[in-house]
Symmetry: C2
Subunit: 229 residues, 2 copies
DNA sequence: GCAAAAGTGTTTAACTTACACCCATGC
DNA sequence: GCATGGGTGTAAGTTAAACACTTTTGC
């Protein structure tokens, strides 16, 4: 270990974002067509480079804001990828972040402008560099989060039906869940408010809308109390 | 997002290691007295800077090897800390790794040479920069790992008693466990071999020694099958 | 009236927890 | 013979899993 910082190597540090969305059917990720070399024209995660004056969280937020027009998105640092030649152009490390956004909220113009597109997880194209690996790791992390705390409301509209919530969990976990057991578990958590309103778009009978209640959540789920879907 | 790598900022990237050990009583971490500025003379995690020619895992291994004389240690990347002024001398990011080593195996000479010392988790001194935060995060991660897979054999000698294993888990989780329930759960995993030998140092009756069986482990626990202590 | 999705409880099985006594040995 | 830590099983409680029928309403 040296005591002279000047003698040390400096590196380029990228931040790449796995942006998850949900369209009431499938879990999706937002990808862009890369418009510069290397690998121009191929699909890629959205990313950018860390600036001297920002933290990694700042950088991830900045990058996301540029593409989607939103800040205050749920976001979490995933892993630092550091294979020597992961970027053929130059030695670059990349810190992957994953983010959850409500697919209906984003600004379509911005997305067009960046040639971005939503892909279902299983239909996503092959990506540049180690981005496929990043996505895989992000899915696993999301899955682990999802079974231990009620994450994922960020992926739904403000008001949603139980069925939508269940479908979201099914697509995150990639398995079917029992309707009654699911509802019982969610209700046991006591973190939602049932509204008077019904959603009439998906059935003749209509289904009650629910809303996530942050206060209830903090009261009932904080302190790392976990549940199991 | 720019398309010219040269215009981007480069940063110093440190790797800091939280080294866990276990002395049959307490969970410990290995700290060093820093012998250079800034913060010379204060306690710190062991660390170093990433070199152009190595991955983060390489760097963490190199740093650990220098201090302990061991390679092939269990190690896992924890998080990338990036607060702007975390190092007052210069903008530096740090990727924290945590490692588990058998406290009896390490090379004491090397440790003396670096003025390193083992501290019980609750008696550790205040550390430089954001190193306390790193340690906290590492403990939480270790705890989460410990309850979901039988990690931690790296912290024990090759042959160990059930009591030792239980004490290790108790010190990781910072709670007392029931002796019978613990043994039943561990046995249910079927990943240990019970030896004929007994350890006579801790009681007159002596207690059977066990050994971790990698093959059994792979056969019975692989595929992310988790358990709960 | 019928198709399509919504809503609702109970029984069974699995797992987790709590708990207390005898054993072997060295001194 | 007694003090010390080692070893062992069961019953009760809790949690998770499996399961099917009725309701509403637009067409």
């Amino acid at each position: 270990m040296l005591n002279n910082y000047n003698a040390e190597d400096k590196v380029l540090l990228a931040v790449d974002c796995i942006i998850f969305g949900f369209d009431q059917e499938d879990l999706k990720i937002l990808l862009i067509k890369r418009d510069f070399e290397p690998e121009k024209g191929k699909w890629s995660l959205i990313g950018g480079f860390l600036k001297m004056t920002e933290t990694l969280d700042d950088a991830a937020n900045r990058i996301l804001y540029h593409l989607t027009g939103f800040d205050k998105i749920y976001m979490e640092q995933l892993y630092n990828f550091s294979k020597i030649d992961r970027d053929p152009a130059e030695r670059t490390l990349s810190v992957a972040y994953y983010a959850l956004i409500n697919i209906e909220d984003h600004d379509e113009k911005l997305i067009e402008q960046y040639s971005a597109k939503w892909f279902s997880i299983d239909e996503a194209p092959s990506l540049i560099f180690d981005h496929n690996q990043m996505v895989q790791k992000a899915i696993l992390r999301l899955r682990r989060r999802a079974i231990s705390k009620p994450i994922g409301f960020e992926l739904l509209p403000e008001k949603f039906t139980m069925r939508q919530l269940q479908k979201l969990y099914e697509s995150i976990l990639d398995e079917e869940l029992d309707k009654r057991n699911f509802i019982n578990k969610i209700n046991a958590l006591d973190i939602l408010v049932k509204l008077e309103e019904k959603d009439m778009t998906s059935s003749r009978k209509g289904s009650y809308l629910y809303q996530f209640d942050k206060e209830k959540y903090d009261r009932n789920v904080e302190d790392g109390i976990t549940f199991k879907i």
